[in-house]
Protein backbone atom coordinates (compact mmCIF):
# COMPACT_ATOMS: atom_id res chain seq x y z
CA UNK A 1 0.00 0.00 0.00
CA UNK A 2 1.43 3.35 -1.00
CA UNK A 3 1.45 5.52 2.03
CA UNK A 4 1.91 9.18 1.34
CA UNK A 5 0.93 11.63 -1.34
CA UNK A 6 4.59 12.45 -1.99
CA UNK A 7 5.39 8.82 -2.59
CA UNK A 8 2.51 8.41 -4.99
CA UNK A 9 3.56 11.47 -6.91
CA UNK A 10 7.20 10.38 -7.09
CA UNK A 11 6.40 6.83 -8.19
CA UNK A 12 3.88 7.77 -10.81
CA UNK A 13 5.75 10.68 -12.34
CA UNK A 14 8.94 8.67 -12.66
CA UNK A 15 8.02 6.89 -15.91
CA UNK A 16 7.31 10.27 -17.48
CA UNK A 17 10.19 12.30 -16.07
CA UNK A 18 12.74 9.55 -16.38
CA UNK A 19 11.62 7.06 -19.01
CA UNK A 20 13.27 3.69 -18.97
CA UNK A 21 15.93 3.14 -21.61
CA UNK A 22 14.84 -0.42 -22.06
CA UNK A 23 11.64 0.74 -23.74
CA UNK A 24 13.47 2.26 -26.68
CA UNK A 25 14.34 -0.87 -28.66
CA UNK A 26 10.81 -2.10 -28.02
CA UNK A 27 9.40 1.15 -29.38
CA UNK A 28 11.64 0.93 -32.43
CA UNK A 29 10.63 -2.66 -33.09
CA UNK A 30 6.94 -1.92 -32.74
CA UNK A 31 7.26 1.15 -34.95
CA UNK A 32 8.86 -0.96 -37.67
CA UNK A 33 6.03 -3.46 -37.57
CA UNK A 34 3.45 -0.68 -37.67
CA UNK A 35 5.34 0.69 -40.65
CA UNK A 36 5.13 -2.69 -42.35
CA UNK A 37 1.37 -2.65 -41.85
CA UNK A 38 1.14 0.86 -43.18
CA UNK A 39 3.16 -0.07 -46.25
CA UNK A 40 0.89 -3.05 -46.81
CA UNK A 41 -2.09 -0.72 -46.68
CA UNK A 42 -0.49 1.67 -49.16
CA UNK A 43 0.27 -1.27 -51.42
CA UNK A 44 -3.36 -2.34 -51.21
CA UNK A 45 -4.57 1.19 -51.85
CA UNK A 46 -2.40 1.46 -54.92
CA UNK A 47 -2.87 -1.99 -56.39
CA UNK A 48 -6.45 -2.51 -55.33
CA UNK A 49 -8.49 -4.13 -52.62
CA UNK A 50 -8.07 -7.38 -54.56
CA UNK A 51 -4.70 -8.00 -52.92
CA UNK A 52 -6.73 -8.94 -49.87
CA UNK A 53 -8.19 -12.43 -49.77
CA UNK A 54 -11.84 -11.41 -49.95
CA UNK A 55 -13.81 -12.85 -52.83
CA UNK A 56 -17.32 -13.74 -53.82
CA UNK A 57 -19.32 -14.53 -51.73
CA UNK A 58 -17.18 -13.67 -48.68
CA UNK A 59 -16.96 -9.95 -49.27
CA UNK A 60 -15.98 -9.20 -45.68
CA UNK A 61 -13.03 -10.92 -44.09
CA UNK A 62 -10.19 -10.03 -41.78
CA UNK A 63 -10.80 -6.30 -41.95
CA UNK A 64 -14.33 -6.38 -40.62
CA UNK A 65 -13.31 -9.02 -38.10
CA UNK A 66 -10.67 -6.61 -36.86
CA UNK A 67 -13.14 -3.75 -36.92
CA UNK A 68 -15.59 -5.57 -34.69
CA UNK A 69 -12.79 -6.90 -32.51
CA UNK A 70 -11.17 -3.52 -31.87
CA UNK A 71 -14.44 -1.73 -31.32
CA UNK A 72 -15.14 -4.50 -28.83
CA UNK A 73 -11.80 -3.97 -27.09
CA UNK A 74 -12.63 -0.29 -26.85
CA UNK A 75 -15.44 -1.18 -24.48
CA UNK A 76 -12.78 -1.99 -21.94
CA UNK A 77 -12.15 1.25 -20.83
CA UNK A 78 -14.72 3.82 -20.83
CA UNK A 79 -17.53 1.51 -19.92
CA UNK A 80 -15.69 -0.23 -17.09
CA UNK A 81 -14.24 2.96 -15.76
CA UNK A 82 -17.62 4.73 -15.96
CA UNK A 83 -19.41 1.91 -14.16
CA UNK A 84 -16.74 1.75 -11.48
CA UNK A 85 -16.78 5.51 -11.06
CA UNK A 86 -20.54 5.64 -10.69
CA UNK A 87 -20.54 2.76 -8.24
CA UNK A 88 -17.68 4.53 -6.47
CA UNK A 89 -15.57 1.40 -6.17
CA UNK A 90 -12.37 2.27 -4.32
CA UNK A 91 -10.24 -0.18 -6.27
CA UNK A 92 -11.08 1.67 -9.48
CA UNK A 93 -8.68 4.55 -8.76
CA UNK A 94 -5.45 3.00 -10.09
CA UNK A 95 -7.06 1.41 -13.16
CA UNK A 96 -9.50 3.93 -14.61
CA UNK A 97 -6.97 5.72 -16.76
CA UNK A 98 -5.32 2.53 -18.05
CA UNK A 99 -8.80 1.51 -19.14
CA UNK A 100 -9.78 4.81 -20.74
CA UNK A 101 -6.57 4.90 -22.78
CA UNK A 102 -7.41 1.49 -24.22
CA UNK A 103 -10.77 2.81 -25.32
CA UNK A 104 -9.39 5.78 -27.21
CA UNK A 105 -6.62 3.89 -28.99
CA UNK A 106 -8.70 0.81 -29.72
CA UNK A 107 -11.40 3.02 -31.18
CA UNK A 108 -8.94 4.85 -33.37
CA UNK A 109 -7.57 1.53 -34.63
CA UNK A 110 -11.02 0.02 -35.01
CA UNK A 111 -12.34 3.03 -36.90
CA UNK A 112 -9.48 2.68 -39.39
CA UNK A 113 -10.69 -0.71 -40.57
CA UNK A 114 -13.83 0.37 -42.38
CA UNK A 115 -11.53 2.71 -44.31
CA UNK A 116 -8.96 0.02 -44.99
CA UNK A 117 -11.66 -2.31 -46.23
CA UNK A 118 -13.35 0.12 -48.60
CA UNK A 119 -12.97 -0.42 -52.31
CA UNK A 120 -12.50 3.31 -52.80
CA UNK A 121 -11.35 4.70 -49.44
CA UNK A 122 -10.69 8.16 -50.86
CA UNK A 123 -14.46 8.66 -51.13
CA UNK A 124 -15.21 7.70 -47.54
CA UNK A 125 -16.16 11.28 -46.74
CA UNK A 126 -19.43 10.68 -48.56
CA UNK A 127 -20.66 9.12 -45.33
CA UNK A 128 -20.72 12.53 -43.69
CA UNK A 129 -23.92 14.50 -44.13
CA UNK A 130 -22.87 17.79 -45.67
CA UNK A 131 -24.66 19.97 -48.19
CA UNK A 132 -23.27 19.45 -51.68
CA UNK A 133 -23.98 20.46 -55.25
CA UNK A 134 -25.11 16.94 -56.07
CA UNK A 135 -28.08 17.37 -53.78
CA UNK A 136 -27.25 14.01 -52.22
CA UNK A 137 -27.19 12.94 -48.60
CA UNK A 138 -26.06 9.74 -46.97
CA UNK A 139 -28.56 6.97 -46.47
CA UNK A 140 -29.74 7.04 -42.87
CA UNK A 141 -31.17 3.56 -43.33
CA UNK A 142 -27.73 2.04 -43.68
CA UNK A 143 -26.25 0.49 -40.54
CA UNK A 144 -22.86 1.70 -41.76
CA UNK A 145 -24.09 5.25 -41.37
CA UNK A 146 -25.27 4.52 -37.84
CA UNK A 147 -21.75 3.23 -37.26
CA UNK A 148 -20.35 6.49 -38.55
CA UNK A 149 -22.42 8.50 -36.08
CA UNK A 150 -22.03 6.10 -33.17
CA UNK A 151 -18.28 5.67 -33.46
CA UNK A 152 -17.69 9.37 -33.84
CA UNK A 153 -19.83 10.14 -30.81
CA UNK A 154 -18.11 7.44 -28.80
CA UNK A 155 -14.67 8.59 -29.89
CA UNK A 156 -15.35 12.19 -28.94
CA UNK A 157 -16.97 11.12 -25.69
CA UNK A 158 -14.23 8.74 -24.61
CA UNK A 159 -11.52 11.20 -25.62
CA UNK A 160 -13.12 13.80 -23.35
CA UNK A 161 -13.57 11.17 -20.68
CA UNK A 162 -9.86 10.41 -20.86
CA UNK A 163 -8.67 13.99 -21.07
CA UNK A 164 -10.82 15.55 -18.35
CA UNK A 165 -9.16 13.82 -15.38
CA UNK A 166 -5.83 14.22 -17.15
CA UNK A 167 -5.93 18.01 -16.75
CA UNK A 168 -4.78 18.16 -13.10
CA UNK A 169 -2.04 15.62 -13.77
CA UNK A 170 -0.82 17.70 -16.70
CA UNK A 171 -0.74 20.70 -14.39
CA UNK A 172 1.36 18.62 -12.01
CA UNK A 173 3.75 17.72 -14.82
CA UNK A 174 3.87 21.34 -15.92
CA UNK A 175 5.26 22.27 -12.51
CA UNK A 176 7.84 19.51 -12.64
CA UNK A 177 9.42 20.02 -16.03
CA UNK A 178 11.11 22.83 -17.89
CA UNK A 179 11.68 23.87 -21.46
CA UNK A 180 9.47 22.74 -24.33
CA UNK A 181 7.88 20.09 -22.17
CA UNK A 182 6.74 22.79 -19.80
CA UNK A 183 5.11 24.57 -22.72
CA UNK A 184 3.46 21.35 -23.87
CA UNK A 185 2.02 20.49 -20.48
CA UNK A 186 0.94 24.10 -19.89
CA UNK A 187 -1.05 23.80 -23.08
CA UNK A 188 -2.50 20.42 -22.09
CA UNK A 189 -3.42 21.58 -18.61
CA UNK A 190 -5.51 24.39 -20.12
CA UNK A 191 -4.44 26.83 -17.43
CA UNK A 192 -5.47 24.59 -14.56
CA UNK A 193 -4.88 26.16 -11.14
CA UNK A 194 -6.59 23.82 -8.76
CA UNK A 195 -9.10 26.13 -7.13
CA UNK A 196 -11.82 24.37 -5.21
CA UNK A 197 -14.29 25.59 -7.78
CA UNK A 198 -12.31 23.89 -10.56
CA UNK A 199 -12.08 20.65 -8.61
CA UNK A 200 -15.76 20.74 -7.94
CA UNK A 201 -16.62 21.38 -11.58
CA UNK A 202 -14.22 18.67 -12.72
CA UNK A 203 -15.84 16.09 -10.51
CA UNK A 204 -19.31 17.19 -11.59
CA UNK A 205 -18.28 16.97 -15.25
CA UNK A 206 -16.72 13.53 -14.73
CA UNK A 207 -19.89 12.33 -13.05
CA UNK A 208 -22.04 13.52 -15.93
CA UNK A 209 -19.64 12.07 -18.51
CA UNK A 210 -19.67 8.73 -16.72
CA UNK A 211 -23.45 8.69 -16.92
CA UNK A 212 -23.45 9.74 -20.58
CA UNK A 213 -20.76 7.41 -21.81
CA UNK A 214 -22.44 4.18 -20.70
CA UNK A 215 -25.45 4.39 -23.02
CA UNK A 216 -23.17 5.56 -25.84
CA UNK A 217 -20.85 2.59 -25.35
CA UNK A 218 -23.79 0.21 -25.31
CA UNK A 219 -25.21 1.78 -28.44
CA UNK A 220 -21.91 1.54 -30.31
CA UNK A 221 -21.60 -2.20 -30.11
CA UNK A 222 -25.31 -2.62 -30.54
CA UNK A 223 -24.99 -0.81 -33.85
CA UNK A 224 -21.94 -2.81 -34.83
CA UNK A 225 -24.02 -5.93 -34.26
CA UNK A 226 -26.78 -4.47 -36.41
CA UNK A 227 -24.33 -4.22 -39.30
CA UNK A 228 -24.87 -7.95 -39.40
CA UNK A 229 -28.33 -8.41 -37.96
CA UNK A 230 -30.00 -6.11 -40.49
CA UNK A 231 -29.17 -8.31 -43.46
CA UNK A 232 -30.92 -11.53 -44.47
CA UNK A 233 -27.81 -13.66 -44.13
CA UNK A 234 -28.11 -17.01 -42.36
CA UNK A 235 -27.11 -16.81 -38.68
CA UNK A 236 -26.78 -13.02 -38.93
CA UNK A 237 -30.42 -12.04 -38.98
CA UNK A 238 -30.82 -12.50 -35.27
CA UNK A 239 -32.37 -10.41 -32.52
CA UNK A 240 -29.89 -11.76 -30.00
CA UNK A 241 -26.98 -10.08 -31.75
CA UNK A 242 -27.14 -6.69 -30.00
CA UNK A 243 -26.82 -7.91 -26.40
CA UNK A 244 -24.53 -10.75 -27.54
CA UNK A 245 -22.13 -8.26 -29.10
CA UNK A 246 -22.26 -5.83 -26.19
CA UNK A 247 -21.52 -8.65 -23.74
CA UNK A 248 -18.74 -9.92 -25.97
CA UNK A 249 -17.29 -6.43 -26.24
CA UNK A 250 -17.16 -5.90 -22.51
CA UNK A 251 -15.76 -9.42 -22.16
CA UNK A 252 -12.86 -8.83 -24.53
CA UNK A 253 -12.44 -5.30 -23.18
CA UNK A 254 -11.83 -6.46 -19.62
CA UNK A 255 -9.38 -9.06 -20.92
CA UNK A 256 -7.47 -6.39 -22.82
CA UNK A 257 -7.41 -4.21 -19.74
CA UNK A 258 -5.94 -6.99 -17.61
CA UNK A 259 -3.25 -7.68 -20.21
CA UNK A 260 -2.35 -3.99 -20.41
CA UNK A 261 -2.22 -3.74 -16.62
CA UNK A 262 0.09 -6.73 -16.31
CA UNK A 263 2.55 -5.14 -18.72
CA UNK A 264 2.31 -1.73 -17.08
CA UNK A 265 2.82 -3.22 -13.68
CA UNK A 266 6.04 -4.96 -14.55
CA UNK A 267 7.50 -2.44 -17.00
CA UNK A 268 6.76 0.73 -15.02
CA UNK A 269 7.20 -0.86 -11.59
CA UNK A 270 3.70 -0.07 -10.45
CA UNK A 271 3.44 -3.12 -8.20
CA UNK A 272 2.32 -0.92 -5.32
CA UNK A 273 -0.55 0.56 -7.30
CA UNK A 274 -1.86 -2.14 -9.60
CA UNK A 275 -2.27 -4.47 -6.67
CA UNK A 276 -3.41 -8.11 -6.76
CA UNK A 277 -6.87 -7.12 -5.50
CA UNK A 278 -7.41 -5.07 -8.68
CA UNK A 279 -6.70 -8.20 -10.72
CA UNK A 280 -8.85 -10.25 -8.39
CA UNK A 281 -11.80 -7.91 -8.83
CA UNK A 282 -11.34 -7.63 -12.60
CA UNK A 283 -10.99 -11.41 -12.70
CA UNK A 284 -14.39 -11.75 -11.06
CA UNK A 285 -15.86 -9.37 -13.62
CA UNK A 286 -14.24 -11.37 -16.40
CA UNK A 287 -15.72 -14.53 -14.97
CA UNK A 288 -19.19 -13.03 -15.01
CA UNK A 289 -18.74 -11.95 -18.60
CA UNK A 290 -17.40 -15.36 -19.57
CA UNK A 291 -20.52 -16.98 -18.17
CA UNK A 292 -22.68 -14.40 -19.88
CA UNK A 293 -20.88 -15.01 -23.18
CA UNK A 294 -21.42 -18.73 -22.90
CA UNK A 295 -25.07 -18.15 -22.11
CA UNK A 296 -25.49 -16.08 -25.26
CA UNK A 297 -23.57 -18.58 -27.37
CA UNK A 298 -25.75 -21.37 -26.08
CA UNK A 299 -28.94 -19.42 -26.69
CA UNK A 300 -27.86 -18.56 -30.24
CA UNK A 301 -26.77 -22.08 -31.11
CA UNK A 302 -29.79 -23.74 -29.51
CA UNK A 303 -32.37 -21.61 -31.30
CA UNK A 304 -30.63 -22.16 -34.62
CA UNK A 305 -30.40 -25.90 -34.13
CA UNK A 306 -33.98 -26.18 -32.90
CA UNK A 307 -35.31 -23.97 -35.69
CA UNK A 308 -33.55 -26.18 -38.24
CA UNK A 309 -34.11 -23.72 -41.07
CA UNK A 310 -32.21 -24.99 -44.10
CA UNK A 311 -29.84 -22.06 -44.78
CA UNK A 312 -29.13 -21.54 -41.09
CA UNK A 313 -28.48 -25.14 -40.22
CA UNK A 314 -26.00 -25.31 -43.11
CA UNK A 315 -23.93 -22.59 -41.45
CA UNK A 316 -24.50 -24.19 -38.06
CA UNK A 317 -22.97 -27.52 -39.04
CA UNK A 318 -20.27 -25.77 -41.01
CA UNK A 319 -18.95 -24.30 -37.79
CA UNK A 320 -19.69 -27.26 -35.58
CA UNK A 321 -18.49 -30.14 -37.71
CA UNK A 322 -17.35 -28.60 -40.99
CA UNK A 323 -14.10 -26.91 -41.95
CA UNK A 324 -14.53 -24.26 -39.24
CA UNK A 325 -14.87 -26.77 -36.39
CA UNK A 326 -11.32 -26.35 -35.14
CA UNK A 327 -11.74 -22.62 -34.84
CA UNK A 328 -15.11 -23.07 -33.18
CA UNK A 329 -13.87 -25.37 -30.47
CA UNK A 330 -10.73 -23.31 -29.90
CA UNK A 331 -13.06 -20.34 -29.41
CA UNK A 332 -15.17 -22.20 -26.86
CA UNK A 333 -12.00 -23.33 -25.12
CA UNK A 334 -10.48 -19.87 -25.03
CA UNK A 335 -13.62 -18.06 -23.99
CA UNK A 336 -15.08 -20.47 -21.52
CA UNK A 337 -13.38 -23.78 -20.82
CA UNK A 338 -9.98 -22.31 -19.98
CA UNK A 339 -10.96 -19.03 -18.27
CA UNK A 340 -13.74 -20.55 -16.20
CA UNK A 341 -11.60 -22.60 -13.78
CA UNK A 342 -8.82 -20.01 -13.84
CA UNK A 343 -11.20 -17.30 -12.72
CA UNK A 344 -13.64 -19.28 -10.61
CA UNK A 345 -11.11 -20.92 -8.33
CA UNK A 346 -9.86 -18.33 -5.90
CA UNK A 347 -6.39 -19.83 -5.70
CA UNK A 348 -5.93 -19.56 -9.43
CA UNK A 349 -7.32 -16.03 -9.71
CA UNK A 350 -3.85 -14.55 -9.28
CA UNK A 351 -2.19 -12.02 -11.53
CA UNK A 352 -0.71 -14.83 -13.62
CA UNK A 353 -4.03 -16.65 -13.68
CA UNK A 354 -6.09 -13.68 -14.79
CA UNK A 355 -3.41 -12.80 -17.35
CA UNK A 356 -3.52 -16.27 -18.85
CA UNK A 357 -7.31 -16.21 -18.94
CA UNK A 358 -7.26 -12.77 -20.54
CA UNK A 359 -4.89 -13.77 -23.31
CA UNK A 360 -7.14 -16.73 -24.04
CA UNK A 361 -10.21 -14.52 -24.07
CA UNK A 362 -8.68 -11.99 -26.46
CA UNK A 363 -7.74 -14.79 -28.87
CA UNK A 364 -11.10 -16.45 -28.42
CA UNK A 365 -13.05 -13.27 -29.02
CA UNK A 366 -11.12 -12.52 -32.20
CA UNK A 367 -12.01 -15.99 -33.45
CA UNK A 368 -15.61 -15.41 -32.42
CA UNK A 369 -15.88 -12.37 -34.69
CA UNK A 370 -14.24 -14.27 -37.52
CA UNK A 371 -16.67 -17.13 -37.07
CA UNK A 372 -19.62 -14.78 -37.12
CA UNK A 373 -18.54 -13.17 -40.38
CA UNK A 374 -16.90 -15.74 -42.61
CA UNK A 375 -18.93 -19.00 -42.37
CA UNK A 376 -22.24 -17.17 -42.76
CA UNK A 377 -21.09 -15.33 -45.85
CA UNK A 378 -19.50 -18.35 -47.41
CA UNK A 379 -22.72 -20.35 -47.19
CA UNK A 380 -25.59 -18.11 -48.14
CA UNK A 381 -28.79 -19.30 -49.72
CA UNK A 382 -27.93 -20.62 -53.16
CA UNK A 383 -25.51 -23.57 -52.89
CA UNK A 384 -24.12 -22.85 -56.34
CA UNK A 385 -22.69 -19.59 -55.02
CA UNK A 386 -21.05 -21.04 -51.94
CA UNK A 387 -17.41 -20.21 -51.46
CA UNK A 388 -14.45 -19.96 -49.17
CA UNK A 389 -12.09 -17.35 -47.83
CA UNK A 390 -8.35 -17.28 -47.29
CA UNK A 391 -6.57 -14.20 -45.98
CA UNK A 392 -3.49 -12.99 -47.83
CA UNK A 393 -0.24 -11.61 -46.46
CA UNK A 394 -1.62 -8.08 -46.81
CA UNK A 395 -4.48 -8.72 -44.42
CA UNK A 396 -2.29 -10.64 -42.01
CA UNK A 397 0.36 -7.91 -41.99
CA UNK A 398 -2.18 -5.17 -41.39
CA UNK A 399 -3.84 -7.20 -38.64
CA UNK A 400 -0.55 -7.86 -36.90
CA UNK A 401 0.44 -4.23 -37.29
CA UNK A 402 -2.66 -3.03 -35.48
CA UNK A 403 -1.78 -5.09 -32.43
CA UNK A 404 1.72 -3.62 -32.53
CA UNK A 405 0.19 -0.20 -33.09
CA UNK A 406 -1.91 -0.60 -29.97
CA UNK A 407 1.14 -1.58 -27.93
CA UNK A 408 3.16 1.26 -29.42
CA UNK A 409 0.54 3.90 -28.72
CA UNK A 410 0.11 2.59 -25.20
CA UNK A 411 3.82 2.62 -24.56
CA UNK A 412 4.25 6.14 -25.90
CA UNK A 413 1.26 7.32 -23.91
CA UNK A 414 2.69 5.91 -20.70
CA UNK A 415 5.86 7.90 -21.34
CA UNK A 416 4.03 11.15 -21.92
CA UNK A 417 1.55 11.22 -19.07
CA UNK A 418 1.19 9.22 -15.87
CA UNK A 419 -0.85 6.17 -16.73
CA UNK A 420 -2.27 6.04 -13.23
CA UNK A 421 -4.21 9.07 -12.16
CA UNK A 422 -2.16 10.80 -9.47
CA UNK A 423 -4.77 13.16 -8.09
CA UNK A 424 -7.39 10.46 -7.90
CA UNK A 425 -5.04 8.24 -5.92
CA UNK A 426 -4.23 11.14 -3.61
CA UNK A 427 -7.89 11.84 -3.10
CA UNK A 428 -8.31 8.15 -2.38
CA UNK A 429 -5.86 8.39 0.51
CA UNK A 430 -8.35 10.48 2.45
CA UNK A 431 -11.16 8.09 1.76
CA UNK A 432 -12.13 5.85 4.65
CA UNK A 433 -11.00 2.32 3.88
CA UNK A 434 -13.98 0.10 3.28
Amino acid sequence: MAQTAEQIQRDLLRPVLDPSRRAKPVIAGLALLVLAGFSAWMYQMYTGIGVAGIRRPVFWGFYITNFVFWIGISHAGTLISAILRLSNATWRRPITRCAEVITVFALLIGAMFPLIHLGRPWLAFWLAPYPNQRGLWPNYRSPLLWDFFAINTYLIGSLIFLLLPLIPDCALLRDNVTGWRNKLYSLLSLGWRGTQKQWHRLEAAMHIMAILIIPVAVSVHTIVSWDFAMTPVPMWHSTIFAPYFVAGAIFSGIAALIIAMVFLRSSLHLEEYLRPECFDNLGKLLLVMSLLWFYFLFAERLTTWYGNARPEIAVFWLTQRGPYRHLFWVMVGCNFVLPFPLLAIKKLRTIAGTFLASVAVVIGMWIERYLIIVPSLSHKFLPYAWGTYRPTWVEITITAATFCGMALLYLLFSEVVPVVSIWELKAGLREPVR
Partner: protein, 166 residues
Protein backbone atom coordinates in the same frame (compact mmCIF):
# COMPACT_ATOMS: atom_id res chain seq x y z
CA UNK B 1 -4.08 48.70 -10.02
CA UNK B 2 -2.09 48.63 -6.87
CA UNK B 3 -5.07 48.94 -4.59
CA UNK B 4 -6.60 45.69 -5.73
CA UNK B 5 -3.78 43.17 -5.55
CA UNK B 6 -4.43 39.77 -4.14
CA UNK B 7 -2.84 38.11 -1.18
CA UNK B 8 -2.27 34.41 -0.63
CA UNK B 9 -0.67 32.16 1.92
CA UNK B 10 0.94 28.80 1.28
CA UNK B 11 -0.14 26.26 3.87
CA UNK B 12 1.61 22.99 4.36
CA UNK B 13 -1.17 20.97 5.93
CA UNK B 14 -4.95 20.86 5.84
CA UNK B 15 -5.41 22.17 9.41
CA UNK B 16 -3.47 25.31 8.57
CA UNK B 17 -5.59 25.68 5.48
CA UNK B 18 -8.64 25.65 7.65
CA UNK B 19 -7.06 28.24 9.93
CA UNK B 20 -6.27 30.48 6.97
CA UNK B 21 -9.81 30.21 5.69
CA UNK B 22 -11.18 31.00 9.14
CA UNK B 23 -8.89 33.99 9.35
CA UNK B 24 -10.24 35.36 6.12
CA UNK B 25 -13.80 34.73 7.21
CA UNK B 26 -13.15 36.55 10.47
CA UNK B 27 -11.82 39.48 8.45
CA UNK B 28 -15.32 39.79 7.12
CA UNK B 29 -14.78 38.27 3.68
CA UNK B 30 -17.58 36.20 2.16
CA UNK B 31 -16.83 32.54 1.46
CA UNK B 32 -17.37 33.08 -2.26
CA UNK B 33 -14.36 35.44 -2.47
CA UNK B 34 -11.96 33.08 -0.79
CA UNK B 35 -9.82 31.05 -3.15
CA UNK B 36 -8.28 27.75 -2.12
CA UNK B 37 -5.81 26.23 -4.58
CA UNK B 38 -4.67 22.66 -4.06
CA UNK B 39 -3.25 19.77 -6.04
CA UNK B 40 -6.07 17.50 -5.01
CA UNK B 41 -9.76 17.97 -4.27
CA UNK B 42 -10.35 18.84 -0.60
CA UNK B 43 -13.95 17.75 -0.47
CA UNK B 44 -14.12 17.03 3.24
CA UNK B 45 -13.53 20.59 4.38
CA UNK B 46 -16.14 23.20 4.94
CA UNK B 47 -14.45 25.65 2.61
CA UNK B 48 -14.77 23.20 -0.24
CA UNK B 49 -18.53 23.22 -0.03
CA UNK B 50 -19.94 25.04 -2.99
CA UNK B 51 -23.43 25.70 -3.99
CA UNK B 52 -24.96 23.20 -6.40
CA UNK B 53 -24.05 23.57 -10.05
CA UNK B 54 -26.58 23.82 -12.80
CA UNK B 55 -24.44 21.63 -15.06
CA UNK B 56 -26.89 18.72 -15.37
CA UNK B 57 -29.64 21.03 -16.54
CA UNK B 58 -27.44 22.64 -19.15
CA UNK B 59 -26.40 19.19 -20.31
CA UNK B 60 -30.03 18.18 -20.69
CA UNK B 61 -30.57 21.32 -22.78
CA UNK B 62 -27.56 20.39 -24.92
CA UNK B 63 -28.91 16.89 -25.32
CA UNK B 64 -32.30 18.20 -26.43
CA UNK B 65 -30.62 20.53 -28.91
CA UNK B 66 -28.43 17.71 -30.24
CA UNK B 67 -31.40 15.42 -30.57
CA UNK B 68 -33.48 18.03 -32.33
CA UNK B 69 -30.55 18.71 -34.64
CA UNK B 70 -30.24 15.02 -35.39
CA UNK B 71 -33.92 14.58 -36.07
CA UNK B 72 -34.09 17.65 -38.27
CA UNK B 73 -30.95 16.58 -40.12
CA UNK B 74 -32.35 13.16 -40.94
CA UNK B 75 -35.90 14.20 -41.66
CA UNK B 76 -35.15 17.31 -43.70
CA UNK B 77 -32.41 15.76 -45.77
CA UNK B 78 -34.52 12.72 -46.54
CA UNK B 79 -37.39 14.93 -47.58
CA UNK B 80 -34.99 16.93 -49.74
CA UNK B 81 -33.69 13.82 -51.42
CA UNK B 82 -37.04 12.07 -51.64
CA UNK B 83 -35.52 8.96 -53.10
CA UNK B 84 -37.70 5.89 -53.28
CA UNK B 85 -35.87 2.94 -51.84
CA UNK B 86 -37.03 -0.59 -51.76
CA UNK B 87 -40.67 0.34 -51.42
CA UNK B 88 -39.93 1.78 -47.99
CA UNK B 89 -41.29 5.16 -46.93
CA UNK B 90 -39.21 8.26 -47.54
CA UNK B 91 -39.08 9.13 -43.85
CA UNK B 92 -37.97 6.16 -41.80
CA UNK B 93 -38.57 6.96 -38.17
CA UNK B 94 -37.03 3.77 -36.79
CA UNK B 95 -33.66 4.37 -38.35
CA UNK B 96 -33.81 8.13 -37.86
CA UNK B 97 -34.18 7.34 -34.19
CA UNK B 98 -30.69 5.88 -34.13
CA UNK B 99 -29.03 8.95 -35.63
CA UNK B 100 -31.17 11.15 -33.41
CA UNK B 101 -30.09 9.17 -30.38
CA UNK B 102 -26.40 9.41 -31.23
CA UNK B 103 -26.61 13.13 -31.86
CA UNK B 104 -28.53 13.58 -28.59
CA UNK B 105 -25.65 11.98 -26.75
CA UNK B 106 -23.12 13.97 -28.74
CA UNK B 107 -24.96 17.17 -27.86
CA UNK B 108 -24.89 16.24 -24.19
CA UNK B 109 -21.20 15.33 -24.26
CA UNK B 110 -20.17 18.50 -26.04
CA UNK B 111 -22.28 20.63 -23.71
CA UNK B 112 -20.64 18.97 -20.73
CA UNK B 113 -17.16 19.82 -21.87
CA UNK B 114 -18.07 23.37 -22.87
CA UNK B 115 -19.91 24.05 -19.63
CA UNK B 116 -17.00 22.58 -17.71
CA UNK B 117 -14.39 24.68 -19.50
CA UNK B 118 -16.42 27.87 -19.06
CA UNK B 119 -17.47 27.43 -15.45
CA UNK B 120 -14.04 26.19 -14.36
CA UNK B 121 -12.48 29.16 -16.17
CA UNK B 122 -10.08 27.02 -18.16
CA UNK B 123 -8.60 27.85 -21.57
CA UNK B 124 -9.83 31.40 -21.21
CA UNK B 125 -6.97 33.17 -19.44
CA UNK B 126 -7.36 33.61 -15.77
CA UNK B 127 -5.08 35.85 -13.76
CA UNK B 128 -4.97 33.91 -10.54
CA UNK B 129 -1.54 33.80 -8.95
CA UNK B 130 0.02 30.39 -8.73
CA UNK B 131 2.95 28.75 -7.08
CA UNK B 132 4.51 25.49 -8.31
CA UNK B 133 4.80 24.44 -4.68
CA UNK B 134 1.11 23.58 -4.87
CA UNK B 135 2.24 20.58 -6.86
CA UNK B 136 4.34 19.48 -3.89
CA UNK B 137 1.25 19.26 -1.72
CA UNK B 138 0.99 22.81 -0.41
CA UNK B 139 -2.36 24.57 -0.38
CA UNK B 140 -2.74 28.20 -1.37
CA UNK B 141 -5.41 30.21 0.41
CA UNK B 142 -6.27 33.81 -0.19
CA UNK B 143 -8.27 36.30 -2.15
CA UNK B 144 -7.82 37.57 -5.69
CA UNK B 145 -8.06 41.27 -4.84
CA UNK B 146 -8.23 43.25 -1.66
CA UNK B 147 -7.88 46.93 -0.76
CA UNK B 148 -4.54 47.85 0.83
CA UNK B 149 -5.83 48.24 4.36
CA UNK B 150 -7.53 44.91 4.41
CA UNK B 151 -4.52 43.26 2.85
CA UNK B 152 -2.23 44.42 5.61
CA UNK B 153 -4.61 43.02 8.14
CA UNK B 154 -4.75 39.69 6.36
CA UNK B 155 -0.99 39.58 5.98
CA UNK B 156 -0.66 39.98 9.70
CA UNK B 157 -2.89 36.99 10.30
CA UNK B 158 -1.22 34.89 7.57
CA UNK B 159 2.26 35.34 8.98
CA UNK B 160 1.62 32.73 11.62
CA UNK B 161 0.30 30.26 9.09
CA UNK B 162 2.85 30.12 6.33
CA UNK B 163 4.68 31.75 3.45
CA UNK B 164 2.91 34.74 1.94
CA UNK B 165 2.52 35.25 -1.80
CA UNK B 166 1.20 38.38 -3.39
Amino acid sequence: MSSARGIFVLCSEPDRTERAVNALLSAGLPMSDIIVISSEPLERYRFAELKKVRMPWLVVCGAVLGGMGGFLLTSLTQKGLAIRTGGMPVLTLWTDGIVTYELTMLGAILTTIVVFLVTARLVFRNHLPYDPQVSQGKVMVGIASAPDALRDKIAEMFKAIGEIRE
